[in-house]
């Protein structure tokens, strides 16, 4: 187990370094000099040069890159170009909101998606299956921010039962009310993908020889389904959990904007609009670190559910 974990970690480290490097390269070729953007059109050349010097932008790219990596290794994400605050504290402020949102959405997506897919497969070509298939097909085509707007219209503007925007105070009972609509939005979008894949996996498993054997030896249907079919079907489903989570993270950016929630997505879009590229770069790095951790976790989980995987 430890060796397997170490192997996966060794694979993750170069990916992470690659991600950091690509983001650094992309962001450094941004048009417009950040120092002159920060000082405005009427700044003197000397002032711009002084700021460039203070930010270290006049040094060779390789030196800036090495400096950035060294900073990352110490957990230092640099300073915001716009207001000079350490990016780490902005990320630390935003991260819990995004974590809350995506984790709840992940739980919702799985809790709705897997049972939905199983019911759909077991009632193949009958009414419940038809309904779930139509819903999941539409769900796969609805952008998260659009579903969010529709839910705001219904629950916040028409029914006035839930708040449309904001996040409340973190970790209070009150903040749960603010979490329901955005997490529901993301969870529903994710569930659409989970339902579709679960359905086809369960159908596929039901036609396997070992399921027929289980039926032939006289086991009751619930046992055949729960112990033989579902357990086997769960393996490919879990292998896709990482992919769905990555989609979820992408969707969380637009969802945070629609619900005006603080979070990494709002931080990133704000940084982008202000050309605050140290922040932009660091938030991207945090996001991809997120993705890499998720992939690692789903690899491990895969090993746990699939007895054929030997560590």
């Amino acid at each position: 187990m430890l060796r397997y974990l170490a192997g996966r970690l060794l694979f993750a480290i170069p990916i992470f370094l690659g991600v950091v490097t690509i983001v650094f390269v992309i962001v450094r070729v941004l048009p417009g000099d950040p120092a002159s953007v920060a000082l405005g059109d009427y700044a003197s050349r000397d002032a711009v040069e002084a700021l460039r010097h203070r930010l270290g932008l006049d040094r060779p790219l390789v030196v800036q890159y090495a400096d950035y990596l060294a900073g990352l290794a110490r957990g230092d994400l640099g300073q915001s170009l716009v207001n000079g605050t350490p990016v780490r504290s902005e990320v630390a402020h935003s991260l819990p909101f995004t974590l809350q949102l995506t984790l709840l959405a992940l739980v919702l997506g799985i809790a709705l998606g897997i049972p939905g897919g199983v019911v759909s497969a077991l009632t193949r070509n009958r009414a419940p299956d038809g309904l779930t298939r139509v819903l999941s097909l539409v769900g796969l085509s609805v952008p998260a921010y659009y579903l969010g707007i529709l839910l705001i219209l219904l629950f916040a503007i028409q029914l006035r039962v839930l708040p449309a925007i904001g996040a409340g105070t973190l970790w209070t009972a009150d903040s749960v009310r603010y979490l329901i609509l955005p997490a529901g939005t993301l969870g529903l979008v994710m569930a659409a993908a989970v339902v579709r894949f679960t359905r086809s996996t369960v159908l596929n498993t039901l036609s396997q020889d070992f399921v027929r054997t289980a039926q032939a030896k006289g086991l009751r249907r619930p046992v055949v389904i729960a112990k033989h079919t579902l357990r086997a079907a769960l393996i490919p489903i879990i292998s896709l959990a990482g992919v769905w989570s990555i989609g979820l993270i992408g969707d969380s950016v637009t969802t945070e904007i629609v619900f005006a929630r603080p979070g990494l997505g709002s931080l990133m879009v704000g940084a982008m609009l202000q050309r605050d590229y140290t922040s932009l770069q660091s938030v991207m790095v945090v996001y991809t670190a997120f993705v890499i951790v998720i992939n690692l976790a789903s690899d491990l989980l895969y090993g746990v559910v699939d007895p054929r995987v030997r560590y």
Binding site: P14, I15, G18, V19, I22, V23, I26, V27, V29, L30, P31, L137, V138, L140, S141, V142, P143, Y145, Y146, I149, L150, I152, L153, I157, S200, I246, G247, I249, G250, D251, V253, T254, I257, V258, M268, V269, M272, L273, L280, M284, Y287, T288, V291, I292, N295
Partner: protein, 307 residues
Amino acid sequence: MSVAAGGPPDGGLTGHGEIEAAERRALSPAGRRSPWAAVLRNRVSAVGIALALAIAAVSAGAPLLTPWSPYDQDAVHRLRPPGGAHLLGQDTFGRDVLTRILYAGRVSLAVGVGAVALGGVAGTALGLAAGYYGGGVGTAIMRLVDVLMAFPSLLLGLVVLAVLGPGLGKLIVAIGLVLAPPFARVTHGTTLSLVGQEFVDAARAIGAGPWRILGRHILRNVLGELVVLGGLLAAGAIRIEASLSFIGLGVPPPVPTWGNMIREGTPYLIDAPWLSIAPGAAIVLAVLAFNLVGDALRDVIDPRLRS
């Protein structure tokens, strides 16, 4: 009845007859059923294809379908609700919402087709090169692909577009870059499994160069998979375009896109919800149509996956 006669023991004749009929169908070109016919018989696929064609037609033919231009302002009737001459109402500048939705379809379709073409060509070239030459270059290319695929696609598109700046061409380049890695991965896998096969050795033995082998022997065998992938990714490209323009990147206003229309509508959600609802519905229909077209392409080209 004798099993030795060759027929199956239970009612040999019918079994034989069926096999013969199937063989006849398979052998005579006239009797062979076209896979397209099977797809069109599937009502869901047919609806998807019709919907995609309809969206393309109304976007291309927008000037013929509406008397207004997407930029005609009408300050007196700003935020007028749907009904009357303006079927989907008017926006905050009094522009006709339906007209803007029709014209916005052009941006989405251009991005859907352009980004898939660009990403497909770039990714396929990389995958072919990595699979055929292997070694250090191949490994380097595929590690780059791994790294690019570690980004959530919207975020990668967002950062690239932030660098490139606004504009339709740049939008296509940014989304094309996001779509290239999956093409590279599929092509690489198939190329690897093909380069060792005898027909490639045979081609090499008669003196075919790498271009000829890659183009005529390997690419031809990957093409089906690539078309299927392209169909599915076109829907993804339209989604990403809409998300980026919702965030405020991509084609700048006043050119309408479905995403920027939703964005401009959100401040008026209470008084004029149609400003956001209508273009969002257009996104759903377009993505749905292209998802169904992608499924249909898969059914035609890869019968193993047919459900």
